[in-house]
Amino acid sequence: MRALPGTRRLLITWGVLMALTLVSMVSARLDQTTDWQVLPLWSAAMIMMATGFKAHCVLMVYLNLRAATPAWKGVFIALTLLTLTLIAAGYLAGRFHLVG
């Protein structure tokens, strides 16, 4: 069994997660306090990618899933990707009026 991540790896991961959260906050256009608009595609795509990477980091390092078998890693990654795909589908369907 692979060992626990260790303090250094945990701290690096935490730094990356914090930075990506700040990027997501900026990408969500927090500066627009008076003129709110629909989130542009590039901004939504950036948030989705950052979120997917963050979920991967939390699973693999914080929860030490990297010590599990490839099958279990695949289950959790697939579930994360499915969730992100559903969110992206809802966003795109609404944006391009594909439903209703």
Binding site: M1, L10, L30, Y62, L63, A89, G94
Partner: protein, 135 residues
């Protein structure tokens, strides 16, 4: 039975690190949230104008701040696991105590956020978007 696995005797869960029941909880949570987001995506696709309009009723700074708090409390719990695996019980308790304090901070931020929302007349009953984001 393979004894090189982290949790021999737990069937398929035996290949997962740590307590297998924790993974049952994590997998259950993920499945619930996947279903939740499927419902959210469907509702958003049906009424994107309402969802876009309602987004400005959220406080993204407080939401982002709470994410930072959760990421840090998760780090502290991971530190606690590292400490207990090195038989440093007192240090592990300290990290868990710090994580609990951040959990309380998370709740305080939520109370502050919701109090201001309720004062402005915004509740989960206002519209379907706020049901998803506030409940």
């Amino acid at each position: 039975m393979r004894h090189d696995l982290p949790n021999p005797g737990w069937g398929p869960l035996s290949a997962l690190p740590g307590n297998p029941l924790m993974w049952v909880l994590i997998l259950s949570e993920m499945l619930v949230f996947t279903a939740f987001f499927a419902l959210y995506a469907g509702q958003r696709a049906l009424d994107p104008a309402l969802f876009n309009e309602s987004q400005h009723q959220l406080d993204p700074v407080l939401g982002g701040l709470n994410t930072l708090v959760l990421l840090t409390s998760g780090l502290f719990v991971a530190f606690a696991v590292e400490a207990i695996s090195a038989k440093r019980i007192q240090r592990s308790r300290q990290w868990l105590g710090a994580a609990i304090l951040l959990g309380l901070l998370f709740c305080l931020i939520k109370v502050f956020e919701y109090t201001s929302k309720f004062a402005a007349g915004i509740t989960p009953e206002t519209n379907v978007f706020l049901v998803f984001t506030m409940v």
